[in-house]
C-alpha cells in the first residue's frame, strides 16, 4: 500500500469504524479492553496484562452533544462532555475498564461521574501521578501507585501478569515510540514530506490497535514516505503547543498547513510519546516505568517538574526544532493550557520568539477565520 492509501485507511478507521478494530481484537484474542483518558496512561501495564489499551480522545466534530450537557456546567471543555456523550449512547460498551488521571480538576471529576453512571459492568479507576518529581520519595510513591493499578488489572482479568509479559509489553511500546519519533524526525528534517495532519492520523490510529500491529503500519509508512514526490514550499517552521489532551479537528491541522506553517513539532497525542528515552528492560519493570515517568518524561502542562520549568523547556524545544514561531493551539476552557500560557508567553517574548494563540473546540467546523489569522501571522514573519 502506498503512503496516501495508508493515510486514507487510517482516516477511514478513525472516522468510520474505530470500534470494529477493537471488536475484532477482542474476538480474536478473547482478551479484555481498557479505555484511557488523556494524557499519559501506563499502557505498558494494561497491555502487559493482556488487555487492549484504547485511547479515549473525545468525540471529534461529528458527535452531537445531546445529553452530556446536563451533567456539566456551560464552562467545561468539549472532551469531558463528548466522552460522557459517547458513554451515554452506549458507544463505550466494548470497554471493560476505564482509566482517568490526575491531569486537571475537570478530568478528575469526570472520573467520578463515570463511576456513578457507567461502572456497573466495568471498572473505573483514577490514577494519581506525582506532581513533585523533585522529591526523592516520588519514585517510591509512584511504584506503590503502579502496583495498585497492576492489582486492579489483575483482578479484572482474573489472573496474574507474568514479568515476561510485562517486559514484552514495555518492549512493544518502546519500539512503537521509537517509530513515532522517526515520523517526528522526518517532520523536522523534511517537513514537506509529511504533514502534521498525516502524521497525526498515522499515530492516532494506534489508539485502537495493539502496539505491534500499529508499529507494523508505521514501518510501512516510514518506507513509503521517502518515495513521495512533494516539493518544499516557502513556509514558516512552527511548533504547536497546548493540544496535549483534547485534540483539534484534523481540518484545523490542515488549515494551519495551508496557511503557511510547517509544524515541526507538536504535543498532539502526547501520551503516545511520553518518554524521551526507552524504558529500560533490565531490572524491575515497575521501577523502570516509575523512574522513566519521574526522570525522562516530556514536559506537559499537566505534569509539573520544578527541576526544569516548562517555559524553559518550551524555549529549548523551539530552539532545537529551529522553529521561527510558536502556535498555541488550546482547547476552549482547558485550564492547564490556558494557565500555562502567560508564563510561556513571557518566556517567548524574553527570547524574541514570535507566537500566536488559537482556541479551538472539538465541534469546530469552519476554519476560514483561523486560516486568515495564521496566514497574516506567517506572512508577517516571512516578509519581515
Amino acid at each position: 500500500m502506498d503512503f496516501d492509501g495508508l493515510v486514507a485507511q487510517c482516516r477511514e478507521i478513525l472516522e468510520e469504524h474505530p470500534w470494529q478494530e477493537i471488536q475484532r481484537w477482542k474476538e480474536k484474542t478473547g482478551g479484555k479492553a481498557a479505555g484511557y483518558f488523556p494524557v499519559y496512561s501506563p499502557l505498558e501495564l494494561i497491555y502487559g496484562n493482556g488487555m487492549l489499551p484504547v485511547g479515549l480522545m473525545g468525540g471529534g466534530n461529528k458527535t452531537e452533544i445531546e445529553r452530556a450537557d446536563s451533567y456539566f456546567g456551560s464552562f467545561v471543555c468539549s472532551i469531558v462532555k463528548s466522552t460522557t456523550e459517547l458513554a451515554l449512547r452506549g458507544e463505550l460498551q466494548l470497554l471493560d475498564g476505564i482509566f482517568f488521571h490526575s491531569i486537571c480538576d475537570a478530568a478528575r471529576n469526570l472520573c467520578y461521574v463515570f463511576k456513578r453512571n457507567f461502572s456497573s459492568d466495568r471498572f473505573i479507576e483514577y490514577i494519581h501521578f506525582p506532581q513533585n518529581p523533585s522529591s526523592p520519595s516520588a519514585v517510591d510513591y509512584l511504584i506503590s501507585e503502579l502496583k495498585r493499578i497492576r492489582h486492579v488489572l489483575e483482578e479484572a482479568n482474573g489472573r496474574r501478569m507474568s514479568e515476561e509479559s510485562f517486559k514484552q509489553s514495555i518492549h512493544a511500546y518502546n519500539e512503537n515510540r521509537a517509530l513515532i519519533q522517526r515520523l517526528y524526525k522526518i517532520k523536522a528534517e523534511s517537513p514537506h514530506l509529511l504533514s502534521t495532519a498525516e502524521a497525526y492520523q498515522l499515530i492516532r490510529v494506534g489508539s485502537a490497535l495493539p502496539p505491534e500491529e500499529h508499529s507494523s503500519m508505521l514501518r510501512t509508512a516510514l518506507e513509503e514516505i521517502p518515495k513521495r514526490r512533494v516539493r518544499p514550499r516557502d513556509k514558516i517552521r512552527v511548533i504547536l503547543e497546548g493540544s496535549f489532551c483534547e485534540q483539534p479537528p484534523v481540518e484545523l491541522l490542515e488549515a494551519l498547513d495551508e496557511a503557511g506553517c510547517y509544524i515541526i513539532d507538536d504535543d498532539l497525542l502526547l501520551g503516545r510519546r511520553w518518554f524521551e528515552r526507552e524504558v529500560p528492560l533490565d531490572g524491575d519493570p515497575i521501577r523502570a516505568l516509575a523512574e522513566s515517568y519521574i526522570d525522562r518524561s516530556r514536559y506537559s502542562s499537566v505534569s509539573h517538574d520544578w527541576r526544569r520549568p516548562r517555559s524553559e523547556r518550551l524555549v529549548e524545544r523551539a530552539r532545537q526544532a529551529q522553529a521561527t514561531a510558536v502556535v498555541f493551539c488550546i482547547a476552549k476552557f482547558c485550564e492547564p493550557a490556558l494557565l500555562d500560557y502567560p508564563l510561556f508567553k513571557d518566556a517567548l517574548e524574553r527570547e524574541g520568539i514570535p507566537h500566536v494563540m488559537l482556541e479551538f473546540e472539538e465541534k469546530m467546523w469552519t476554519f476560514d477565520k483561523l486560516r486568515t489569522e495564521i496566514e497574516t501571522f506567517a506572512e508577517s514573519i516571512l516578509f519581515d
Binding site: D69, D105, Y141, S144, H304, P342
Partner: protein, 431 residues
C-alpha cells in the same frame, strides 16, 4: 415599592461577641503581616487547604500569607474586577480561575491587601494543593513573579474509599521532612518538636470545638447560618488553628451558640426552611446573595464549603508529622465526588434540611464539574428538592441579580407550596 422595603428588612442582624473577637483577631493578624513586610521577616505563601502547616511554620518563626484569603477579601469588598482585568491584560484567559487573576493583578498593582495594608513578599512559596490542580499553577506563578523558591507538596487524591493508603501518608511525610529542612536552612532555626506537639494539642482542641459547634445546626432553629455565618468562623480556623487564642475563640463561640440553642434563637426572625449549600459563595455579591435566601426564611444548616475540618479526623500530638500529612489528604476537596455526595446527603438527612442549593461557580472546576450530575442524583435518586445556580466566586461580571432572584423565588414558592400541602395532609391524618 412596599414589597422591596419589606424585603430589605428581612435579613440576618445577628452580631455576637464572637464577631467582635473575630474582627480583632483578624486585624491583629493583618497588622503582624504588615510589620513582617516592613521588617522583611521570613514569610511563606500558603493555601487554606494546607493551612494546618501554619503550625509548623509558626514553630520556625515564619509568617503565613494566604493569597486565597486576599483574593476573597478583594471580592467581598468589591475591589476584585480591576485586578482581574490587569491579569487578563497579561494573557490570563477570561475562562480561568478568577481567584488566581485577582491575586496576580493585585501583585502587579503593588502587592496590597483589600484594607490597603502592604503584604510581605514571600520568602517561600509552599503549595499544598489538596485536590485543586489550579493551585499548583497559581503558586508556580507567584514563585515566578516574586523569585521566591517554590515547594509543591504533592497530595495524593483519595482515589477510592474513605481513607488514604499508608503509602500516600508516607509520601507526604517525606515531603514534610524536606520542607522542614528548607525552612530550617532559611531561618537558621531548628524545629522544636515539643512546641509543635503543643500547637497540635491546641489544634486538636480547636477542631473538637469546631465539630461540636457544627453539630449544633441540628437544632431547630439552627443557632447560626452554617454557610454565611460559618464563613466568618473560617478566618480564625485558618489563621489561629494551633494557638491558645484559637481555642479561646472557639470556646466563646460554642458557649454563645449553645445559649442561642437554649433560647431557641436563630439568625432569622423565623426559620421557615432549612437548606444545605454546595460550593463557594459569590463573594462580590455576598450580602445580596444571602438576602435572596433570608427573605424566604431559609437558613443553611450544612455546607461543603464550610467543612475545613474533615469530620473523621483530628490532629494528634503523638503523631506530629503523620497527622500534619493526613489533614490535607483527608480534606473534602481531596476526595471524589462520590464522597462529596455522601457528605451532602448526611448533612441533608442528619440536619433535617428541606433542600439542597448548588451554587456552581465558573472559576472553580473542582467544585463545579459534575454539578449537573449532582443535581440529578439529589433530585431524582434521593428525591431532595435541589436548586442549581450559576455565577462566580470572584468575578462580578458573572452575577446576574435579576436572574438569580427569579430562580430562587420560583424555587422557594414551589417548596412553600409543597410544605403547605404536606402540612395539611399531616393535619388531616392526625385529625
Amino acid at each position: 415599592m412596599d414589597t422591596q422595603s419589606t424585603e430589605k428588612k428581612v435579613h440576618s442582624q445577628y452580631q455576637g461577641k464572637i464577631h467582635q473577637m473575630q474582627k480583632a483577631l483578624m486585624a491583629r493578624w493583618m497588622a503582624e503581616l504588615e510589620q513582617a513586610a516592613e521588617n522583611h521577616e521570613p514569610t511563606a505563601c500558603l493555601l487554606v487547604a494546607g493551612s494546618n502547616l501554619s503550625m509548623l511554620l509558626r514553630c520556625l518563626g515564619i509568617h503565613q500569607v494566604y493569597p486565597e484569603l486576599n483574593a476573597l477579601q478583594l471580592a467581598i469588598r468589591k475591589q476584585s474586577l480591576p485586578y482581574i482585568q490587569i491579569a487578563e491584560e497579561r494573557g490570563y484567559s477570561t475562562d480561568v480561575c478568577s481567584y488566581v487573576k485577582a491575586d496576580v493583578g493585585a501583585f502587579f498593582a503593588g502587592n496590597v491587601s483589600s484594607l490597603g495594608t502592604k503584604l510581605p513578599q514571600p520568602t517561600l512559596v509552599l503549595s499544598c494543593f489538596s485536590g485543586c490542580n489550579v493551585y499548583i499553577k497559581w503558586f508556580e506563578h507567584i514563585a515566578a513573579y516574586t523569585g521566591a523558591p517554590l515547594y509543591v507538596i504533592d497530595v495524593p487524591f483519595i482515589r477510592s474509599g474513605n481513607d488514604p493508603c499508608p503509602e500516600d501518608i508516607d509520601y507526604v511525610v517525606s515531603q514534610l521532612k524536606e520542607v522542614i529542612g528548607i525552612c530550617e536552612k532559611m531561618t537558621g532555626r531548628k524545629l522544636d518538636y515539643d512546641e509543635l506537639r503543643e500547637r497540635l494539642a491546641y489544634a486538636r482542641e480547636v477542631e473538637r470545638l469546631w465539630l461540636e459547634i457544627k453539630e449544633l445546626t441540628k437544632n431547630i432553629p439552627s443557632p447560626y447560618d452554617d454557610y454565611f455565618d460559618c464563613i466568618t468562623l473560617m478566618g480564625p480556623m485558618v489563621a489561629f488553628r494551633g494557638t491558645r487564642e484559637g481555642v479561646e475563640f472557639f470556646q466563646t463561640a460554642k458557649k454563645e451558640f449553645e445559649e442561642r440553642v437554649r433560647l431557641k434563637i436563630g439568625p432569622l426572625p423565623e426559620e421557615k426552611f432549612r437548606i444545605v449549600v454546595e460550593s463557594a459563595p459569590p463573594y462580590p455579591y455576598f450580602r445580596t446573595f444571602r438576602d435572596l435566601f433570608s427573605k424566604w426564611g431559609a437558613c443553611a444548616v450544612g455546607a461543603t464549603y464550610t467543612t475545613p475540618q474533615p469530620p473523621d479526623f483530628l490532629h494528634d500530638p503523638e503523631r506530629p508529622l503523620e497527622s500534619l500529612a493526613e489533614y490535607p489528604i483527608r480534606i473534602f476537596t481531596n476526595r471524589g465526588l462520590d464522597q462529596r455526595y455522601d457528605l451532602l446527603r448526611r448533612y441533608v438527612t442528619e440536619r433535617s434540611a428541606d433542600a439542597l442549593i448548588i451554587h456552581s461557580v465558573k472559576s472553580c472546576r473542582l467544585f463545579s464539574v459534575g454539578h449537573g450530575d449532582m443535581r440529578e442524583y439529589f433530585s431524582k435518586n434521593l428525591g431532595i428538592p435541589t436548586l442549581m445556580l450559576e455565577s462566580d466566586l470572584e468575578d462580578p461580571r458573572y452575577f446576574s441579580e435579576a436572574q438569580m432572584k427569579n430562580r430562587v423565588d420560583a424555587f422557594f414558592e414551589v417548596l412553600e407550596h409543597k410544605k403547605y400541602i404536606a402540612g395539611k395532609a399531616q393535619a388531616i391524618t392526625e385529625a
